[in-house]
């Protein structure tokens, strides 16, 4: 039995599990199984790579590989199990960055190895025949890839991986709140584009042999890291999910470069699959926010629009509502729709809101949740958070389906959401969120907005909904306000 073929078959199986896994991940009923299937394929491919190969390998290498995997498994497992659900987007970003860094490191090492293969010379300066034979053997093993082509793949993997790594770390810091303001150098768009062009030219010169030496590769590495930082820095925190999704597909491409380099079909299929699915997902997310991708990356979200928002003074009265009044209003309603936002998650109020829902349902009130596509910090994030507190997902209704229902709803309770219910998206062309699909809560008979203060939302703009005569504000931290609301409701029976 040819062991190389066995490995190839394992990689084939792995590739198929990736496709099936991703397919199943896109349906709620099969998603979990799909993840496990892809995980199984990955495990198989990793084990196969370690166990099956022709060359003799020193025990020290095995020890190193196994301990590295052990270390990574423990650290990855612990972080993934321990982290709070609200911190999910940050975590995905970090793990993505690790993949990018892995691809960049592989390229660095491969480049080093290449250095030894390029000029197989004897100490006397003559051509070393055995070295040459060795080199040709390696080439044959790597699927007839020429020196230049391999170098090109190494450079591509290095650049894409580094950009993805540096960008993900910045994205993580932004979501985390460490870097909470978009930092814009003057002319950042032009600077960034010049830097990107420079990266291409530099990489081309290295591949083409115009410049030689390790120094240049390290410089390219540093420049790619710098570009990754500069690329994400000017983008606002609200757009991070889109950026992470984009960087996710970058890492996929970096992995695919590795696939080319080693003629490894599993890496190639896995990488390209994620690259293309990730790009599509990025576009879908942009569509949910009604903004083209170019606007997210190069756009001046917040910068140009801040002036516009400030220019439009909102006037009118803001009504406040007491806990008791809110409880009475909801208790005697037929239909209540809850609009959860990130503020709910920050206050860790997802369990209390489920309690509120249960009590109201017991009293015969119909309760639904209206989920805006970008509620939370990532599309679908809110669903995950509510599911965590046992809210049945039949009750989570997507925007297009729930919007017509608002007109026959008695009370809409908005908890910690702001921009996704801002009518400016419909009627203020100067607003930065103009054109974004929103939840039409203003059609409901009563609106109660729970907020900590009158501060603007994530997009940094005022909300005219608060001045609507049908609207009343319930100020306070989401968790304590909802807890009081629940006990008030209980007392009423």
């Amino acid at each position: 039995m040819n062991t190389q073929y066995l490995l190839d078959i394992i990689y084939l199986v792995a590739s198929v599990t990736f496709v099936i896994g991703l397919k199943m991940l896109s349906h709620p009923a099969t998603a979990r199984k799909g993840n496990l299937i892809a995980c199984f394929g990955m495990t198989l491919a990793i084990l196969g790579t370690i166990i099956i190969h022709d060359e003799k390998v020193q025990p020290i290498i095995y020890t190193l590989i196994l301990s590295a995997i052990g270390l990574g498994t423990i650290a990855g497992w612990m972080t993934a199990k321990k982290v709070q659900m609200t911190k999910m987007p940050e975590l995905v970003s970090i793990f993505n960055g690790m993949g990018g860094a892995c691809a960049a490191l592989i390229s660095l090492i491969e480049f080093q190895h290449m250095g030894h293969q390029v000029m197989p010379v004897t100490p006397e300066g003559g051509m070393d025949l055995s070295g040459l034979v060795e080199m040709l053997k390696n080439m044959a093993h790597q699927g007839g890839m020429s020196h230049t082509a391999k170098l090109a793949m190494i450079m591509a993997g290095l650049v894409i991986g580094s950009v993805s790594f540096a960008g993900s770390i910045i994205a993580w810091a932004k979501l985390n709140g460490t870097l909470n303001k978009p930092i814009r150098l003057p002319q950042y768009n032009i600077t960034n584009n010049i830097l990107m062009l420079g990266l291409f030219v530099y990489a081309f010169l290295i591949v083409n042999g115009n410049v030689e030496g390790n120094m240049h590769v390290y410089l390219l590495f540093a420049a790619a890291l710098l570009y990754g930082v500069m690329f994400v820095l000017p983008i606002g925190g609200a757009d991070m999910p889109v950026v992470i999704s984009l960087l996710n597909s970058f890492t996929g491409l970096a992995a695919a470069c590795g696939g080319f380099m080693y003629n490894n079909k599993a890496m190639l299929t896995g990488g390209i699959l994620v690259g293309s699915a990730g790009t599509l997902l990025t576009l879908v997310m942009c569509k949910a926010m009604n903004r083209p991708l170019s606007n997210v990356i190069f756009g001046a979200f917040g910068a140009g629009s801040k002036g516009a928002a400030a220019g439009r003074e909102l006037t009118g009265n803001i009504k406040e509502i007491s806990i008791t009044d809110a409880a009475v209003l909801m208790n005697y309603s037929k239909k209540v729709i809850i609009v959860p936002g990130y503020g709910l998650a920050v206050a860790q109020a997802q369990h209390v809101i489920h309690e509120l829902e249960t009590i109201l349902e017991e009293r015969g009130v119909e309760v639904k949740y209206a989920i805006h596509p970008v509620a939370g910090r990532m599309p679908g994030h809110m669903n995950v958070l509510l599911a965590e507190s046992n809210v049945s997902y039949d009750k989570l209704v997507e925007m297009e389906e729930i919007n017509p229902e608002f007109s026959n709803t008695d009370v809409v309770l908005v908890v910690g959401a702001n921009d996704v219910v801002n009518p400016a998206a419909h009627n203020d062309p100067a607003s930065p969120i103009f054109g974004m699909p929103i939840l039409d809560v203003e059609n409901a008979k009563n609106i109660i907005v729970n907020k900590r203060s009158m501060n603007a939302g994530y997009a940094g703009i005022e909300n005219e909904l608060f001045y609507n005569p049908k609207n009343s504000m319930l100020f306070g931290d989401a968790k304590s306000a909802l807890t009081k609301l629940v006990s008030e409701l209980k007392a009423m029976d």
């Binding site: 892809a38 370690i50 892995c102 890496m267 990730g278 046992n390």
Partner: protein, 102 residues
């Protein structure tokens, strides 16, 4: 120009895979509901962790005397494992919550 054609010709199978996979990727997540965007992104994130195979491969072909390569390779395997294990576990944790209530 010549070298580009040679490159494509020598790796024509790989190019077929790339192009077909682009379509598969688009097709496979074409109709995903917004509910699953986050888990899907996370799942895809885990799948590109396949880059770890490259890290293991490079380790297997590293000369035990080449300390720099060994250190970088070790780091690459650790990071790759983090990507794979963390990615799959996080995705599973998210999806675990999508149970249907009676």
């Amino acid at each position: 120009m010549n070298s580009v054609i040679n490159f494509i010709g020598n790796n024509i199978q790989m190019f077929y895979i790339v192009i077909l996979m682009v379509f598969v990727g688009i097709e496979v997540i074409g109709k995903v509901p917004a509910v699953l965007h986050t888990p899907l992104m996370s799942g895809a994130n885990a799948i590109h962790g396949v880059v770890i195979i490259g890290a293991i491969y490079v380790m297997l072909h590293t000369d035990p005397d080449n300390i720099l390569s060994l250190v970088l390779g070790f780091l690459a395997v650790v990071l790759g494992t983090l990507n794979v294990v963390g990615g799959f576990v996080v995705t599973d944790r998210m999806l675990e919550m999508f149970k249907k209530k009676k």
